[in-house]
């Protein structure tokens, strides 16, 4: 299990439940490495600012993480973490390697708009 304060998707089943129960989902699939940790930290900060988004992580090396590793949208990715954004269960964006807070919020604002500010 990843040592973060995020909700963990520990299995394929939990992953699909997040998608079923939440309209907007951001899942970061990685390890406790230097390119992944900054992304987890940004996600932890954004949990309060984006209450309409479900933030979760998933350990890259567990077999069930194939639900992310094998996504067509992640083909060609060769840098951790793989971050996948889902709307109504469908992938709307996927990124590879470290991303800044600004890059992440731009994706969230673009894909997970609400009637309010976000």
């Amino acid at each position: 299990m990843l040592k973060t304060n995020l909700t963990h998707a520990l299995s394929e089943k939990e992953h699909s439940e997040f998608l079923k129960n939440n309209e907007n989902v951001m899942i970061c699939c990685g390890r406790m490495g230097p390119m992944c940790i900054p992304v987890y930290e940004v996600m932890e900060e954004l949990e309060n600012e984006y209450p309409h988004v479900k933030f979760a992580d998933m350990e890259f090396d567990i077999p069930d993480a194939k639900v992310i590793r094998n996504l067509p949208e992640c083909r060609g990715f060769a840098g951790l973490p793989f971050v996948v954004y889902y709307k109504n269960g469908k992938v709307v964006k996927a990124t590879s390697s470290i991303q800044s807070r600004e890059q992440i919020t731009n994706i969230l604002d673009e894909n997970f708009r609400t009637n309010g500010n976000k």
Binding site: K3, R31, M32, G33, P34, M35, C36, I37, P38, E41, V42, E45, R75, G76, F77, A78, G79, L80, T95, S96, S97, I98, S100, R101, E102
Partner: protein, 316 residues
């Protein structure tokens, strides 16, 4: 200006130096704010395992950073991370920092602990193929290149050490280096030279990354002949050192030729009330322990400065 936005000391940066300064200042009951543009921990979190931090047998850089952050917050230090500093005024008795173009913070003293970042190649295609063939971390991404052909860019200790470690995965590793000799210590060079999977392209630079959805080839300039060749490649790992994060300080504090902040033995810069610590200052050895020492000295100096200013105000 609300009093909530005024602090005795503002620390810029939350790596080992900045967090240590925050611990010392807040424990001394001096109001302190740490503003950090990236993630907490700075270069510390790049280290998978730290085994030479006195008193701790071994710990991950991430955990050490988290502990330091919690310690500073426990003493009352306010930490804001992943922000963007959009204005910085260091002259004058009251220092002023604007965050995200809207929030204004002021203080009597500032400690700059902005650290450093990995140097990038800085050529077309680098941003596009980051994570899709270009990597800056062998331990993170090495296993994506099982039985693949890769390039390692650089000629220092890290480049040669990581080139050898990447031969665990890659079928072939080509080191591309801009000079005709290596800066790395001899044993790193020998180890690389004796590895049958490693070959070398010297006096050369990558000038372009290309591909479609992932990196497929690079253009390499051989500098003495000014010849450009194209090479099919699966991945490129870049290890060409670090640069100090001092772009926003140019013209505000004295920097040396390498853009490092010049400090005195008390970590004071040439500007009154402005101190600096950690990897962004001019110094030879960059370790977590030296950053912690710098941060301690800078905090104690800032503390003395703030107390003097406050006393002067009372006596005037």
């Amino acid at each position: 200006m609300s009093m909530q936005n005024h602090f005795d000391v503002i620390v810029i940066g939350a790596g080992a130096a900045g967090l240590t300064a925050g611990i010392y200042l807040s424990r001394a009951k001096v109001s302190s704010l740490i503003l950090n543009e990236g993630a907490i921990g700075g270069q510390m979190v790049l280290t998978h395992e730290i085994a030479n931090y006195p008193g701790i047998e071994k710990i991950s850089g991430y955990e050490l950073a988290r502990n330091m952050k919690a310690q500073a917050q426990k003493f009352g230090c306010v930490i804001k991370s992943n922000i963007k500093i959009t204005e910085l005024e260091l002259d004058g008795e009251i220092k002023r920092v604007v965050v995200n173009n809207k929030d204004v913070y002021t203080s009597h003293a500032v400690i700059i602990a902005t650290g450093g970042k990995s140097r990038t190649v800085g050529v077309p295609g680098e941003d596009e193929f980051k994570g899709k063939g270009i990597s800056y971390c062998a331990t993170c991404d090495g296993d994506f290149f099982q039985d693949k052909e890769i390039i390692v860019v650089g000629g220092g200790n890290t480049a040669l050490e990581e080139a050898v470690s990447l031969t665990k995965y890659a079928s072939r590793v080509t080191i591309v280096h801009q000079f005709n000799h290596f800066q790395a210590l001899e044993h790193y060079v020998l180890e690389a030279e004796n590895n049958s999977k490693i070959n070398f392209i010297m006096e050369s630079k990558i000038i372009e990354f290309a591909g479609d959805k992932k990196l497929k080839r690079v253009k390499i300039l051989h500098q003495p002949k000014q010849e450009i060749t194209e090479m099919e490649i699966d991945g490129v790992f870049v290890f060409i050192g670090y640069v100090p994060n001092t772009e926003k300080l140019e013209g505000k504090v004295d920097l040396n030729n390498w853009k490092e902040i010049i400090v005195d033995k008390n970590m004071g810069t040439n500007v009154s009330g402005v101190f600096a610590a950690g990897d962004s200052i001019a110094k030879r050895y960059r370790q977590v322990t030296t950053a912690v020492a710098d941060g301690t000295i800078a905090a104690l100096s800032a503390l003395e400065y703030v107390n003097t200013i406050k006393k002067e105000k009372v006596t005037v």
